[in-house]
């Protein structure tokens, strides 16, 4: 192989090739971003205007400009627009959280929903609803406490912030299973009406979307998204393994903990608002990678999460004319095949 090094190609040629390769990657990333934004726009329009009550485009524009009175005004401003907006916001939170979890734990199965964070938030909310008889902001706070409590318990049980990743994932799955059992135990002992309320929340639904919910999600994302953007290069560096990342100057345990903490906050706030919508966190990043190729980008996962929420909510509300399902039913049905696909794909990769 002495020819390799004895006659190295002209350096300027290689610099050009490296630059070209980088701009190809960038262009591909931008293409996927544009495509996802366009798809989200179309899906949002369909969700807002093409429900059981169809709003024509000129009417919709008039409604949005507050220049129209009639049933469409009420339907758009009180029902379909808040549902769509909340779907997009919570979808971004779920998708991004899934990306962060799967990336820092280097395992596509290690998403916050599968690792029990959503169950933790669920237990918090169910306890607040059935035992505490609470509603509104108190339920949200209780769900947040549940999500963080579960994650803290998982990290501690796995052996602290420097714990081995495999152990962390398995402890999370165990924690999630235990928490689900606890939720069921609480529900069987609860008052039937309170249990009914709790069940609806647990399935995940955008039906009760309000402008207060939207404001809370916007505030949450305004605070958390810049932090995520700061963390992404270090999170990407973790992909090559802890030892190499540390050699590049990355504070590995700290970055991992910060990414998990941010993701738990995103999921817990979103789940507290619309319930632990099944599988959105889990599906977003693998689907984004399937669409965009390459290693997968955080903002693609966020957009896929938003798209999944809006489309699933549309299907759930309109697919069966006489029956409006909660969004979580559709995402659960869509998530199962993705889980299977990932398991089969991984099995092949390891064989």
């Amino acid at each position: 192989m002495s020819t390799l090094t004895a006659h190295p190609p002209q350096r300027s040629e290689t610099v050009t090739a490296v630059r070209a390769s980088r701009s190809r990657t960038r262009r591909r990333t931008r293409r996927v971003t544009t495509g996802l934004l366009a798809a989200l726009l179309v899906a949002s329009f369909a969700r807002i205007a093409l429900g059981k009550y169809v709003v024509a485009v000129p009417d919709l524009l008039a409604v949005l400009a507050h220049d129209y009175t009639g049933p469409a005004d009420y339907i758009v401003w009180q029902i379909t627009l808040p549902r769509t907006a909340l779907g997009i916001l919570t979808g971004i939170a779920f998708g991004l959280a899934g990306h962060l979890f799967q990336r820092v734990l280097r395992n596509p199965l290690a998403s916050p929903d599968i690792m029990g964070v959503s169950s933790g938030a669920g237990l918090g909310a169910v306890l607040a609803i059935t035992v505490g008889g609470l509603s509104g902001a108190a339920v949200t706070l209780s769900a947040l406490a549940g999500g963080f409590g579960l994650m803290a318990a998982v990290v501690l049980a796995a052996g602290g912030t420097r714990a081995n990743i495999g152990r962390l994932v398995l402890t999370g799955v165990t924690g999630g299973a235990l928490t689900s059992a606890a939720i069921n135990a609480v529900l069987t002992r609860a008052d039937i009406y309170a249990a009914q309320d709790a069940m609806q929340w647990l399935t995940g639904s955008l039906a009760a979307a309000s402008w207060q919910d939207i404001a809370r999600m916007v505030l949450t994302l305004l605070v958390l998204l810049p932090l995520c953007a700061l963390l992404v290069p270090a999170v990407d560096a973790l992909g090559t393994g802890d030892a190499l990342a540390a050699g590049l100057g990355v504070r590995v345990p700290r970055v991992r903990l910060a990414a998990l903490g941010l993701a738990v906050a995103l999921v817990a706030v979103a789940a507290a608002t619309v319930g632990p919508v099944a599988f959105v966190s889990f599906m977003a990043a693998p689907v984004a990678r399937g669409l965009g190729g390459g290693e997968g980008r955080a903002h693609h996962a966020a957009l896929v999460g938003a798209l999944l929420m809006v489309v699933s909510d549309y299907v759930a509300a309109e697919a069966i004319p006489t029956l409006a399902l909660p969004v979580g039913v559709v995402t659960a049905a869509a998530g199962a095949p993705v889980l299977l696909w990932l398991l089969i794909g991984r099995g092949k990769g390891e064989a």
């Binding site: 192989m1 002495s2 390799l4 090094t5 190295p8 190609p9 350096r11 040629e13 290689t14 610099v15 090739a17 490296v18 630059r19 390769s21 980088r22 190809r24 990657t25 280097r106 700061l230 290069p233 990407d236 560096a237 992909g239 090559t240 393994g241 030892a243 190499l244 540390a246 050699g247 590049l248 100057g249 990355v250 504070r251 990678r289 190729g293 390459g294 290693e295 997968g296 990769g349």
Partner: protein, 288 residues
């Protein structure tokens, strides 16, 4: 860098003086029994040093402690004569590169993207990609002969190519000192030689200080300026191959009877393992 490069190419001499690496009184343990006991050894600047020794002797621990991957219970690691314990992690990552034994190639990542990761310590929190980053990546890709593979997915490459990608990543980091933990493991003999040729070339043209853990004794003897034999958490022998590679030293370090042959043509030294004396192994003269 390129001006320096031209100077080196023109004269064939080492113009830049790289930093030496030295450890003093180093003791390291994982909670229980110490792995390294009061080790002091130096790795000369701008040279190739190889750490050799039996499994579990502490050679990898020594390398990883030099890379600040492990914390020493006592003792110092010095780079260019300066204690690195107080160095900011970014300064350290710009001075000392480390290639671990089993780095992970993320699925879907291209050669260009992975090699570019080596620029991480040179960029700030909002660091924009600069022309010098491209130049460093291109140089690393040239030196490792990967110019035709920049857009290929790393997971689809052969073992030898992939190892060159990891070395390119470490080179893009542009450090004075480069530590490699078994860079030739899992490769066939021709691929091992290919990697060592690249590393040898690097050390000659860029004058960096290379320290690597190597399993293959004969290859270590052939490519390293200095061999450091580690046994039971201490340095058993240190010096050029012709001093360290003797029947007695090899037999003692690996706890195995061995003969070291000297090839007149290449000047290389080759180890013939005889027996560990623990099982029915072929004895001397048993086969002709």
């Amino acid at each position: 860098m390129s001006a320096l490069q031209e100077q080196v190419d023109a004269t064939g001499d080492r113009q830049r003086v790289a930093s030496s690496l030295e450890v003093r009184g180093l003791s390291v343990g994982y909670g229980g029994a110490p792995i390294l006991r009061d080790v002091s050894v130096s790795f000369p600047a701008g040279r190739v040093s190889a750490l050799v020794g039996a499994n579990g002797c502490g050679k990898s621990t020594l390398l990883r402690t030099c890379a600040r991957q492990l914390t020493a219970d006592s003792g110092q690691v010095l780079v260019g004569g300066e204690d690195v314990s107080a160095w900011h992690r970014r300064r350290f990552a710009r001075t000392v590169g480390f290639l671990p034994q089993d780095p992970l190639a993320p699925e879907g990542v291209t050669v260009q993207e992975l090699v570019s990761r080596g620029r991480h310590p040179h960029r700030g929190a909002f660091g924009r990609w600069r022309a010098e980053d491209d130049a460093a990546v291109a140089e690393a890709i040239d030196l490792t002969g990967l110019a035709g593979l920049v857009d290929r997915q790393v997971t689809a490459l052969s073992g030898g190519q992939r190892q060159r990608v990891w070395i390119a990543l470490a080179l893009a980091q542009q450090t004075d000192v480069l530590l490699l933990d078994e860079p030739t493991t899992y490769l066939d003999i021709a691929r091992q030689v290919e990697i060592l040729d690249i590393l040898g070339q690097l050390q000659r043209t860029r004058g960096i200080t290379l320290v690597m853990v190597l399993h293959e004794l004969s290859l270590a003897a052939r490519y390293a300026d200095v061999l450091v034999a580690v046994k039971d958490g201490g340095v058993a022998a240190r010096g050029p191959a012709h001093e360290v590679m003797t029947d007695e030293t090899v037999s003692s370090v690996f706890d195995m009877r061995a003969r070291v042959l000297h090839d007149e043509v290449t000047g290389a030294r080759v180890v013939i393992p005889l027996s560990t004396g623990r099982a029915d192994a072929p004895a001397e003269g048993a086969r002709s």
